[in-house]
Amino acid sequence: MLEIKNITVKTTDDNKLILDKFSLTIPKGEIHVIMGPNGVGKSTLSKVIMGNYKYKVTKGDILFKKKSILDKSTEERAKLGLFVTMQDPMAIDGVKLSEFLKTALREKEGDVNLYDFINSLDDAAHDLKMDPSMLHRSLNKSFSGGERKKSEVLQLKVLKPEFIILDELDSGLDIDSLKLVCKNINDYLKENSDTAVLIITHYPRILEYIKPDRVHILLDGQIKKSGDRKLAEEIESSGYLSINEVEEAKNYE
């Protein structure tokens, strides 16, 4: 579903190299994980996939459903079905969560039945145990850290993307909320079994709830090691220094 082929990513401003000959393939219906130390470029990868203006791909290609998306705008990529729950979702003053989502859904699907929309929004808020009043507050404004993460997942449930990146979804969520949010995502994946997921995390705990097919370690701009869930536990116990640099990343097709 998503094929990242040998990309080199630099910052637009000052040409800082962040990803170097990075490759990763995620087939439809699979759940992959990227782990890696702070500042290694995990969030950058998610932003590059969404076409963020701060980064440029100077080499390589990104294919979604076999077509290059590099010349597509952020809006177009979202309409194709790509979605990132952001590590630090921004607050937007004056724009209500409900109105924002209605606009996004309208843009995607044309006409939106207001009654159905409100129902689906209320249901999603209920599933996530979000206070319904949050729907009518400015987007993420004075939401707590955990509430922001829930608001990201609420958006996902309403907009129904086909490829989902969860960038540190587990940071900011208490243990019960994490379980609940993961249950929501699992339910979504059951209903939409072709959906592929990329989880970015520092902790194996989230992987107890959302079972991954592959785990990749990002170091020095590239995937340095891939394996199954056990790899996440190895990292948890011995850190990244133990990664054998000689071992080449194998891409999982």
Partner: protein, 212 residues
């Protein structure tokens, strides 16, 4: 000068200099149709004032005459030509609170000046006076904000923020990353920036907003 007594929620289009005396808790919506001077006398406890203008210069005086009164004043303006906005707030009673939300959009390469003064004299204790002054330049308009707090007291709570600039690129990224087009994203942001209450009744202003 036009004298108007306000004793209930009202919607008024104004063409002439006016003095408005608020005699009851109320929500006041004003549409400014000429370059005029306005004086507000706050005589009651809770007043929300929404003022909308397209390409006007405006001069405002707010007299907070009532003890423990709260006045929220929202000035939303869209500008294509050079315009000036001057507002003076006088806390004439102790424990009075005035919150200003001055939000302007500069569409062309025009000049916009905000002169915003809040004044609390020595004998009026425990007043609250806040200013939120923001101007968004769509192009490269030249804008100036002069926030002035004249406070002769120690037990006053006050804050002011002044922002001149464009909509944040990261905000645009967030909105478009959900499939919203750039023009729709602008519309959402402009509405959030300029419309703080039910947009019913200000259809002309909403039309102007969607033209930006």
């Amino acid at each position: 000068m036009n004298r108007i007594l306000i004793d209930k929620d009202q919607f008024i289009a104004l063409k002439k200099d006016s003095e408005l005396t608020i005699k009851n808790d109320s929500v006041l919506t004003l549409v400014i149709e000429e370059n005029i001077d306005l004086v507000f006398n706050i005589e009651k406890v809770k007043t929300d004032i929404y003022v909308y203008a397209v390409d006007k210069s405006l001069s405002v005086t707010i007299n907070a005459n009532k003890e423990k009164s709260i006045c929220n004043f929202y000035y939303s303006n869209i500008n294509y030509d050079d315009n000036k906005y001057q507002i003076n707030v006088y806390h004439k009673a102790p424990k009075s609170e005035v919150n200003l939300y001055n939000h302007g959009v500069n569409v062309e390469n025009n000049k916009l000046l905000y002169d915003v003064t809040s004044k609390v004299p020595k004998d009026n204790k425990e007043c609250i006076t806040n200013q939120d002054n923001r101007i968004i330049n769509i192009k490269d308009g030249k804008s100036t904000i002069r926030p002035i707090l004249l406070i002769d007291n120690y037990d006053i709570s006050s804050s002011h923020s002044a922002y001149i600039g464009k909509f944040d690129d990261d905000v645009m990224f967030y909105l478009t990353s959900r499939g919203i087009s750039v023009s729709k994203a602008y519309e959402l942001l402009l509405k959030g920036f300029l419309v703080h209450a039910d947009p019913e009744g200000i259809t002309e202003f909403m039309d102007e907003l969607s033209k930006i």
